[in-house]
Symmetry: C2
Subunit: 333 residues, 2 copies
């Protein structure tokens, strides 16, 4: 069994919807001028696990206790497409921020066409996503997602403003990762549930889906931050150690900073090159303890996400959401 097999079992339930989403997105993004086509097609290559649209679809199904993807309306598909496009726009801009040259083993837009094109292409995709959102007759998604993007940027900016800030706390770390990462997961889940049956929308169930997405997203980011320190570059498919070199203080580092002796050594190490930083971190620090500490927090978040699912009707979609949460803890990419 390959490593992505468990996820495939989960997404199989929504595969017809995912296929439709990817088919439609290719047409939706078609630009006004043909010379932009190669850029738009290149960006499609960044699509990975498509976790966010999977969550939107499963949330829509679980809201109604549906056992198959039939009967999921056009509005849910639109929400899933908008969420996926917003995520794509953040990736294009993230690659500019990180001066990254490779994403998912293909060239980034900034590497391929320059920083200017990458900034503008991200803006283009954001605008396209908002334009799709405001076509929905019910403005809830457009309002919620515009606020979500504001919150994502707020989280990212706050993290940048606190690089190399040794007063940084776990509480602020959790706030920032909830904003920059988990808020879009929460929106994907809540809005999938909302648009599956607007008239029958049950606030208790919507809150449960939102909570599930939020805790799942927090756990996802904690695992991401662990992989940046102890992942296998070949498997993860992107360069690691960037948090260390950029002075972004993540949960495993906060654990190490608790010890006064280690703290001084870690301060000296932050800002050095990725390779050197990772080598010394592995050689001179109890990295496995720091990772274990962070992963325990991720496990607690996943347990909380799974617990909130009990508010939803039983059925294959709820089971899939439960298994998907478990997958977050074991992922290596």
């Amino acid at each position: 069994m390959t490593q992505t097999q468990p996820l495939h079992d989960v997404t199989g339930l929504v595969q017809p919807l995912l296929d439709r989403l990817n088919r439609e997105l290719a047409g939706d993004l078609r630009p006004g001028h043909v010379e932009m086509n190669p850029l738009i097609e290149h960006v499609a290559g960044f699509r990975g696990k498509q976790l966010r649209p999977v969550l939107t679809f499963l949330s829509a199904m679980s809201m109604r206790g549906a056992s198959h993807s039939g009967g999921i309306g056009d509005d849910v598909v639109t929400v899933a497409k908008v969420v996926e496009l917003l995520h794509t726009a953040t990736l294009v801009h993230d690659d500019v921020l990180d001066s990254a040259s490779v994403r998912r083993r293909i060239q980034t837009i900034n590497h391929l066409s320059g920083v200017e094109t990458a900034v503008l292409l991200g803006d283009y995709i954001y605008a396209k996503a908002f334009h799709m959102a405001v076509q929905l007759p019910d403005p809830t998604a457009a309002r919620w997602l515009a606020e979500t993007v504001r919150v994502i940027c707020q989280g990212e900016i706050t993290q940048i403003l606190h690089r190399f800030d040794y007063q940084w706390s776990e509480a602020r770390y959790f706030t920032v990762i909830a904003e920059k990462t988990a808020s879009l997961y929460a929106a994907a889940c809540r809005l999938g549930g909302y648009y599956s049956d607007v008239r029958g929308a049950n606030e208790g169930r919507l809150r449960a889906l939102e909570e599930y997405g939020l805790e799942l997203g927090i756990a996802f980011q904690i695992v991401d931050d662990c992989l940046d320190l102890d992942g296998d570059e070949e498997v993860v498919g992107k360069s690691l150690g960037t948090d260390l070199s950029k002075g972004k203080i993540t949960l495993p580092m906060l654990y190490l900073l608790r010890d006064e002796g280690q703290a001084q050594k870690l301060r000296d190490l932050l800002g050095t090159s990725e390779a050197e930083g990772l080598r010394r971190l592995k050689a001179e620090f109890p990295l496995e303890h720091a990772i274990a500490y962070a992963m325990e927090e991720a496990q607690r978040r996943i347990a909380k996400a799974q617990a909130s699912l009990t508010q939803l009707p039983e059925g294959p979609a709820r089971t899939a959401l439960d298994r998907l949460a478990g997958f977050v803890l074991t992922r290596r990419t």
Copy 2:
């Protein structure tokens, strides 16, 4: 009389609305985390002539033949704020694209806080603007403006893809400047008119306002492209010659490229440093003819903009729009 006096006479009519807009924007942009405050306050310093909200307000008044700004509703103010914020977001990203260090004599965000913060702050302001737009009960502005931002980015990307492209034509130049610059002027005018009286919205008048904004915006960009080649850096307040150094082929250059002998010399000059490029352009080319040629086109556009105003009721707002169009041709900043 100072150079901005004529514009001041025009904007006096909407000064109470502009004051309200600036007062409200300060509160609207207040961020979730206090450490972002200095960034938000710094960006407020980029505000210049505020041409776009002035156009929204004058369009709203002229639609009804109103002689004063009383009776202009909250929705028009919201549209003007959204248009101003979208423009601000494009400025923040433009400064990243141009690696500019100064805007309106203050530091750019990328110079002050780095490229990462500038990219994210632009995204933050876009998201805030869209969030304000989707609060309007009538979704027309949100839909129109999301599409406008997509078109702006499309125009900017197309221009970048055609740098140093000596097959570039006047037709494509006009398409690109209509997209990247004039589309937001057109939206500011049309939506101001639309929200001044949604139920009484008269498509003929709205089209006239849109046409006025479009032609005004095209003329504005032509003048901008002339100032980049023959403006006074002290007066314009930003570094000039950037189109030359970046290989962006503007209308005066298209004129010079018509002559085969000059064309080869100009090709050699594109891509050199700003100072050297400008010095040689002024010394070795009939620059005054090229500027005169471009300014004649700008004049034709302004005449077209003014002609479209005849579709609107007479009154001080219409007169102000007419004078504002004339101002575009004489501006030196």
